[in-house]
């Protein structure tokens, strides 16, 4: 896709330098940010895939994550499946769910304009939230596994070790996705469709099959994310919702098709959030980091476009 193996734009670079300075000032925020940022990236990757290749912004993204966490919770409660192990069945369950959702809904709106697509996925999001509320009520569920609460001390602070799984898994998924897009025939076809759907169709690529595969794999990855999140996150109907816009913020920041940028951007924003949260009395404002970045990125892009 890109000639350079690791593409960084200037804004991102400045941000990283700024964050390194802050990190020396608040080292613990760096660690927390790295952990949380890895999670953001892990969740944003499938959104980027759907947006980049199918061209649909899935507003139900975070809610599929919520649903996966509820199912992981049920697997743990009823069948005593460890959440980390449940990543595997969750991946396949959500792969199948993705297939079903694609066949039932997405397929019908591929050609009907982006407004209709947005309203459709927004409707899906609402249905999942309300369904979760109806079945499981708004009561938060937590599950306990002993290994998730282990920690190491770092300088004067203790830092959870379990959360290092987030960035590790994000890197793993990123590598796997890149291999899929570069090495497999279907992945190459997907890349081509993402760049030019009509051209891809002309050279004989079955776009429908590509969309079908990409959508189901993306929803499947959310199953993996849900599995790794479960031991440290309480599950309630709105658990996943904030991740939809946060993921979109990352994709907008990195630029479409730049999967590496999502990892870097995710960690950068994770650190920024952690820094703000560490300021006493102002922790609540940390939610604005992503929205601020999202609005800034969208607006600067829009102005650059309208000036040219």
């Amino acid at each position: 896709m890109n000639a350079k193996p690791f593409h960084l734009n200037r804004t991102l670079l400045i941000l990283i330098i700024l964050l390194v300075v802050i990190a020396i000032w608040k080292p613990v925020a760096l660690i927390y940010g790295l952990q949380r940022g890895g999670l953001y990236a892990l969740i944003a990757l499938p959104l980027a895939l759907i947006l980049g290749i199918i061209g649909i912004l899935n507003l139900g993204h975070g809610d599929f994550l919520t649903l996966a966490m509820y199912i992981g919770y049920l697997l743990f409660e009823n069948l005593k499946i460890d959440p980390l192990l449940s990543m595997i069945p969750l991946f396949f369950i959500f792969l199948a769910l993705g297939m079903g959702i694609y066949m039932l809904t997405i397929k019908y709106v591929l050609k009907s304009g982006e407004l209709n697509q947005l309203i459709l996925t927004f409707g899906i999001s609402m249905v999942i939230i309300q369904m979760a509320e109806l079945i499981w009520t708004t009561r938060p569920r937590n599950l306990y596994v002993p290994y998730a609460s282990s920690s190491v001390s770092f300088l004067d602070f203790s830092v959870g070790t379990y959360e290092f799984l987030y960035p590790a898994l994000a890197i793993g998924v990123l590598v796997a996705l890149r291999l899929f897009l570069k090495k497999t025939k279907l992945g190459q076809a997907a890349t081509a469709v993402g760049q030019n759907p009509r051209g891809a169709e002309i050279v004989g690529i079955d776009t429908n099959r590509v969309y079908f595969t990409v959508f189901s794999i993306s929803i499947g990855i959310l199953g993996i994310a849900a599995g790794v999140m479960l031991p440290r996150t309480s599950v309630f109907p709105l658990t996943g919702s904030p991740y939809t816009l946060k993921s979109f913020a990352l994709v907008a920041m990195a630029g479409l098709g730049n999967l590496n940028g999502i990892l870097v951007g995710g960690i950068a924003l994770g650190i920024a959030e952690a820094v703000i949260q560490s300021i006493p009395g102002y922790g609540g404002w940390s939610d604005l980091v992503f929205f601020g970045v999202l609005l800034t990125v969208i607006l600067t892009r829009a102005y650059r476009r309208s000036e040219s």
Binding site: I119, L120, M126, V127
Partner: protein, 313 residues
């Protein structure tokens, strides 16, 4: 000519029924009607913006701002309840105008996402200013508008709804309509035929935001409370959207019909299944987008047009 007289009589009849409703309907039916009228206002205002081709998810955001400005004005500064509604309208207008310069350059998903993100930003701001807004604990109003006189509140809501419908029809019947629909169909063509796209978008954006802010203010004055979760609730986005879609987008009467139909269905569902009824709205939205993108009114209109042209041949 005959047709017009008939229409006038029908409208006058409907109006007098609506105005005199509190005198013969029970309290329950009146409250259902008020809910429907509130959602109708939001649905029409959402559709007015959509007619320019811009999908706004900002209803809940402006609704929330309106509702907080009004409650803060009354309970913190002792301003009169009715005045607080105008104050809410003015504040939302100023905020929307300021935002307009920044975000009306955006199109498609970027505009939609920005309006959705702004809703979240507003709610974060409200949550983090506890001295003014009560923070996440919310705010309760002890002296509600007209001392809680339902009849007067009903007339207030009815006025708001009729004003919105009137405005929407006015936009449909005047030159504004051509400007708006040409922007939606092809912005470059609109621009090159001398239409000031930005001006019309700004007018529409500010007016619809004001309507949504006023709706929020009246809602808060009616029920006497505001919490971040309820004031910025996406329900105030989902239900009006569903109503406009069911009735048929890009037309005033579509939204009006949709809100009456879905409003009654929603009330029935709420009685039958108190918790899960909102799932149905989501499913309705999905189904309408997939199978009936023109809605009820649009589909009927198309049928009529088809039979009329068929008869002519």
């Amino acid at each position: 000519m005959k047709n017009r007289i008939g229409l006038t009589i029908a409208v006058a009849g409907l109006l007098s029924i609506m105005i005199s409703l509190p005198y013969y309907s029970g309290a329950y039916f009146l409250s259902v009607t008020m809910t429907i009228l509130l959602n109708m206002t939001l649905a029409v205002s959402w559709d007015m913006m959509l007619r320019t081709g811009q999908l706004s998810f900002g209803i809940a955001g402006f609704f929330g701002i309106g509702s907080y400005v009004s409650i803060v004005a009354v309970s913190n500064f002792g301003i009169n309840n009715v005045v607080s509604i105008f104050l809410a309208a003015a504040s939302v207008a100023v905020i929307a105008l300021a935002l307009a310069f920044a975000i009306l350059k955006l199109r498609g998903i970027y505009f939609a996402i920005t309006t959705l993100a702004l809703t979240m930003v507003f709610s974060v701001i409200v949550r983090n200013m506890p001295t003014l807004t009560g923070g996440s604990g919310g705010k309760v109003l002890y002296n509600t508008i007209f001392n809680g006189d339902t009849t007067k509140i009903y007339w207030l809501i009815l006025t708001m709804t009729l004003f919105t419908i009137f405005l929407s029809i006015a936009f449909e019947k005047t030159r504004v309509h051509y400007a708006i629909s040409s922007i939606r169909n092809d912005e470059i063509v609109a621009k090159s035929s001398g239409i000031n796209v930005f001006k019309y978008l700004t007018i529409l954006f500010v007016i619809t935001a004001m309507i949504q802010g006023v709706a929020g203010a009246i809602y808060t004055q009616q029920y006497g409370f505001a919490y971040p979760e309820t004031a910025f609730s996406l329900d105030f986005l989902m239900l009006p959207m569903a109503m406009a879609l069911v009735g048929g987008i890009y037309s005033t009467w579509g939204s009006v019909i949709g809100s009456v139909v879905l409003g009654l269905v929603a009330e029935y569902l709420r009685l039958v299944m108190p918790h899960g009824s909102r799932i149905i709205y989501g499913i309705i939205v999905i189904l309408i987008i997939m199978f009936l993108p023109k809605g009820i009114y649009g589909t009927i209109e198309n049928r009529l047009r088809a039979t009329r042209s068929g008869a002519r041949e």
